[in-house]
Amino acid sequence: MAAHEAAVAAHDDHQTSTGLDNTKLAMWAFLGSECLFFGSMISTYLLYRNNVLDGPTPHEIYDIPYTSVSSFVLLMSSLTMVLALNAIQRRDQRALRSWLLATAFLGLCFIGGQIYEFTTFVHEGLTMSTSTFGSSFFVLTGFHGAHVTVGILMLLTLYGLSLAGKLEGPEGARPVEFIGLYWHFVDIVWIVIFTVVYLVPTE
Amino acid sequence: MLLASCANQSPQDSLSPEGPVAREQDKLWDLTFLIAVVIFFIVELLLVYALVRFRERPGRQAAQFHGNTKLEVLLTVIPSLILAGIAVPTVQTIFDQAEEPEGALQVNVVGKQFWWEYEYVDAGVITANELHIPTDTPVHLTLDGVATEVNGERGVIHSFWVPRLAGAQDVIPGRTTSMNIQADEPGEYEGQCKEFCGLSHANMRLRVIAHEPPEFQTWLAEQQEEAQPPADELAQRGQQIFQETCVACHSIQGVTDSPRNVGPDLTHFASRETFAGAMFPLDEENLRAWMEDPPAVKPGSLMPDYNLSADEIDAVVAFLMGLE
């Protein structure tokens, strides 16, 4: 990805002023921005979660054991992501690809779980237009799901880059590391969402 | 900006307070404005002086200094102190004006789509656009927006503002806010909605009419009465048309059954000086023009064109103009 470009741009001065890799710095900056994005969404949810009108309350509708399992699946994907990075650092492309696929698969399981959860909620009478609780719940968790989906696409892109032989050489681990940062961030955000949205009791 | 103080003839001049609330606000302005003007002249004159004094002249070199820490610290501390000086009375006034004065007349205000509804809580009177108040008496306004949808009207934010009596207070659907106003002298004080609320934001005007307390009591007593019956046949026909058409949105005590408040309560319509969000002076000609096609003269008006014939309009006008 952008790593090539940075490599070209940095060609003449090999080292950056701060010593940090350009793309890594960019990823950190972007994740900082994402914190505000999810922060605003979570604040909205906290403001609205007790307002259910005639619709179901959070307490009635959440299936904590079910969501705990899917949360666990997503957490495990962070582990496989670490293993993928470890593989490329050992220059083991085959292991890298396996772990990338495993991570993407776990991510997909989580997304599948979320789709099932949304469907169930809609059947039980909670939609985006039911109440402000419904609006803020679906938009918050939906955007998190979208982030996971984007992450899966990036993992698959890495898989493709590896197949195309573009992750060879000493620079090859960098894109994996950066996308790993994103993936871990999305997982951490889920831990916050799971705690704040599902576990913290409402009035 | 100095011109502002000598300007006049502006019925909504915020710098000509006519009651204690606006006066306290104006005092803060006078203080801050004075300081701002002094700083303005000092700094701009320094700028002009520097530009003239240090313009390029042959044979002179620019002084190559990088800063002056003492001066910089001084120029940070002085503005801070000045600001602290403004902050103290500001915070005091904020807290003073947030309190509800004792013995205040209670009026509920609702911001509607391009007009104002007033309810005198104790007297049980509902009127529109023209807020009557007694002089020298604090008036506590409780402001509500329209939260639920009625007859296609969904609430938006408005802001109640009568500059010569008090600064604005937003009227927010789903929230209740409050403000105090008070007038020293009898008179009419103009104001208007100050939060952008759609097509006729510009036409959502209002006025406050202050009376000596005894006159105010008389007015209030009159408003408590039911509507006057139609005086002649034409007005009677007007009432009939009203009951077939207008009742969907308007109430008239003694004429209509269930209260409606999409449009203003018209029980004592003819006692008002203006109508349609205080946009037009109330006379037969304006009223006729209005009823021919309300959205044409007031963009976005919720009152539709009922395609009444000229005769029907005459009848309704006769009926309404009899509602003293």
Binding site: S17, S40 | A50, Q61, I94, G145
Partner: protein, 621 residues
């Protein structure tokens, strides 16, 4: 020469055109992108200006009938959106793009393709919003889009608003990340943070503000979109939605946004004043820290836009205090600019006039800003023309004057020819007079009780004369812009050819030829001082007076070396492809045509995949 070996052509081969339409479309050169930004922003400046003229004609007299209420609401909304998101911000970005690398001694920005992507998102986002005029009406709920009105307004206008600003937000966010990394990481050896030009510092602060402000408005805009398109309840009071949530989110973005617009202009002025006073900036550290302080404090003042909403006395007092004290670092800057002029040898060239105009006007805007902090009286001022006057003194008298200072200052570097001084000065004086005629009287009518955002006013309010003066002033401003355009056109071919350093300036961009070669610096400079270029030209005598040490900039012209061996990023099709999908998705959502949304998503996705998989040019040689 690098092009001797013909590049391997494959499905994903990188484009090679350096000139012509494709050269511009596929360029990743920060200088060309900067020019694209500038030209596009100028086109929008004309559009936003025409909207302003229409508004002023309508309000020239009471009961005006130039515009209907519908048209007026669209025009004032689009004027705000245009001037903020499509003019002041991108104009700043245009200059940032061109000059960040030149001023820090780099060959390009950190992510050239991301840079191109930013530009195309901005340009296409602007096209998307303006397309609403042809598809059933432009946004008409104000640039501030207050809910629940913005949810309820019929037509597609506010849906365009919610999606269009989102696309522009992507452009800003990508740009911010890019500039942060560029400034932190790509500085020439020796260019320590405290040696950076003030402009670069202000860009850094601005970029951080964008980084943290954009996601907040993104969330608000998404909520608005879900309310409008998917019947969500975020701002629906009937379902318990809180209209104030929008205001908090909007102004939590909106107030830093004000500093996003003004800080780059402050940076420009901080570089122009020392050049034309022939002195180093007074109190460099103070001016930098003041900028950073404004950046931090800018996050704590948002509710001063909401003093009339009834937040309660405690919140009102707190925000009154923060609003007052953000004036302190602003004042520090003004004093430092005065200190910079003090003792100088001031040359009144056009860029200097605009910079001085900036300082003079910004003083007024700053002082009227302090008067907003006295909450009880702010409830009189808020939503009147007094506020309109205030922020035009900051954003026009401030930001736009600063941008024109930068344009006149850097024009010779960008295009290799100087703008005419005569026409430039005419432009300045017309604009200065027109500006004050337009916005000065607004202070007065505002205090006389004229509310903003009203399409008409009755004739007995005492506002007639001032409104007429304002309209005349607006026309004078329009004429001044025509003078600028004329200046730009006639000097393109016939203007004085610029040397490398026509102003005898201080910073690195003046050490290379005008216009700069594609690779910027033949050799990456080794920086030893703040104002390094000045110190290379002048050495101090024992008395501290500068003495010229060599002939200066004029002989730093390009020689026969065409930059052989310097690797530059290759052009790419994919930034434009990736951004092209976004407005398509937008139109799809506006008309709830899901296949169109899918198509747009697919285009963007293909663009990104192509981006990831295309060869870096290096491998082709």
């Amino acid at each position: 020469m690098a092009t001797v070996a013909a590049p391997r052509r494959g499905l994903l081969a990188r484009p090679t055109a350096k000139t012509g339409v494709w050269g511009w479309v596929t360029t990743v050169d920060h200088k060309k992108i900067g020019i694209l930004y500038g030209v596009t922003a100028f086109v929008f400046f004309i559009l936003g200006g025409l909207e302003a003229i229409a508004i002023r004609l309508q309000l020239a007299q009471p009961n005006g009938d130039v515009l209907t209420a519908e048209a007026y609401n669209q025009f004032f909304t689009m004027h705000g959106i245009t001037m903020i998101f499509l003019v002041v911000m991108p104009f700043g970005v245009a200059l940032m793009n061109f000059f960040i690398p030149l001023m820090i001694g780099a060959r390009d920005v950190a992510f050239p393709r991301l840079n191109a992507f930013s530009y195309w998102c901005f340009a296409l986002g602007g096209v998307f919003i303006y397309s609403s005029f042809f598809f059933g009406g432009a946004p008409d709920g104000g640039w501030f889009g207050y809910a629940p009105l913005s949810v309820q307004l019929p037509g597609a206008g506010m849906t365009y608003y919610s999606l269009g600003l989102q696309i522009l937000g992507i452009a800003s966010l990508a740009g911010a990340v890019n500039f942060i990394v560029t400034i932190l990481n790509m500085r020439a050896p020796g260019m320590t943070l405290m040696r950076m030009p003030v402009f670069i510092w202000m860009v850094l602060v601005t970029s951080f503000l964008l980084l943290f402000a954009m996601p907040v408005i993104a969330v608000a805009l998404f909520q608005l979109m879900f309310d409008r398109v998917f019947e969500a309840n975020f701002f629906n009071p009937a379902a318990g939605g809180d209209p104030l949530l929008w205001q908090h989110l909007f102004w939590l973005f909106g107030h830093p946004e004000v500093y996003i617009m003004i800080l780059p202009a402050m940076g420009i002025v901080s570089d122009v004043l020392p050049t034309f006073a022939r002195k180093p900036i007074f109190g460099y550290a103070a001016i930098v820290f003041a900028g950073a302080a404004i950046g931090f404090m800018g996050w704590g003042v948002w509710a001063h836009h909401m003093f009339a909403t009834g937040l309660g006395p405690v919140a009102n007092s707190a925000f009154a205090l923060t609003t007052m004290f953000i004036a302190v670092p602003t004042g520090v800057k003004i004093f430092n600019w005065l200190g910079t002029l003090w003792g100088g040898q001031i040359r009144f060239k056009t860029p200097m006039l605009f910079a001085i105009g900036f300082v003079a006007m910004f003083i007024i805007g700053g002082l009227s800003g302090v008067t907003h902090a006295i909450v009880p009286h702010d409830r009189q001022q808020t939503d009147t023309y007094y506020v309109v006057a205030h922020f035009h003194y900051v954003l026009f008298g401030g930001a736009i004057f600063g941008i024109f200072a930068g344009l006149y200052y850097w024009w010779p570097k960008i295009f290799g020819r100087l703008l005419s001084e005569k026409l430039g000065k005419l432009h300045f004086w017309l604009m200065f007079i027109g500006f004050n005629l337009t916005f000065g009287p607004m202070h007065i009518v505002g205090l006389q009780g004229m509310p903003r955002r009203t399409y008409t006013y009755p004739d007995n309010m005492g506002w007639d004369l001032m409104n007429m003066i304002e309209t005349v002033g607006a026309v004078v401003i329009a004429v001044s812009i025509l003078v600028f355009l004329f200046n730009a056109v006639v000097t393109r071919k016939r203007g004085e050819v610029a040397t490398a350093d026509p102003w005898d300036a201080r910073t690195l961009e003046w050490s290379i030829p005008s216009p700069p070669p594609e690779y910027n610096f033949k050799e990456i400079p080794l920086v030893k001082d703040r104002d390094d270029w000045w110190h290379r030209k002048y050495a101090p005598t024992p008395e501290g007076e500068p003495v010229r040490v060599f002939a200066g900039g004029a002989d730093v012209e390009a020689d026969d070396d065409d930059g052989h061996g310097i690797h530059l990023p290759s052009p790419s099709y994919f930034p434009v492809v990736a951004s092209a999908g976004l407005p398509v998705m937008g139109w799809g959502v506006v008309y709830t045509a899901w296949p169109v949304v899918a198509l747009g998503g697919l285009v963007t996705l293909l663009g990104i995949f192509g981006w990831a998989f295309e060869p870096s040019a290096e491998e082709d040689h």
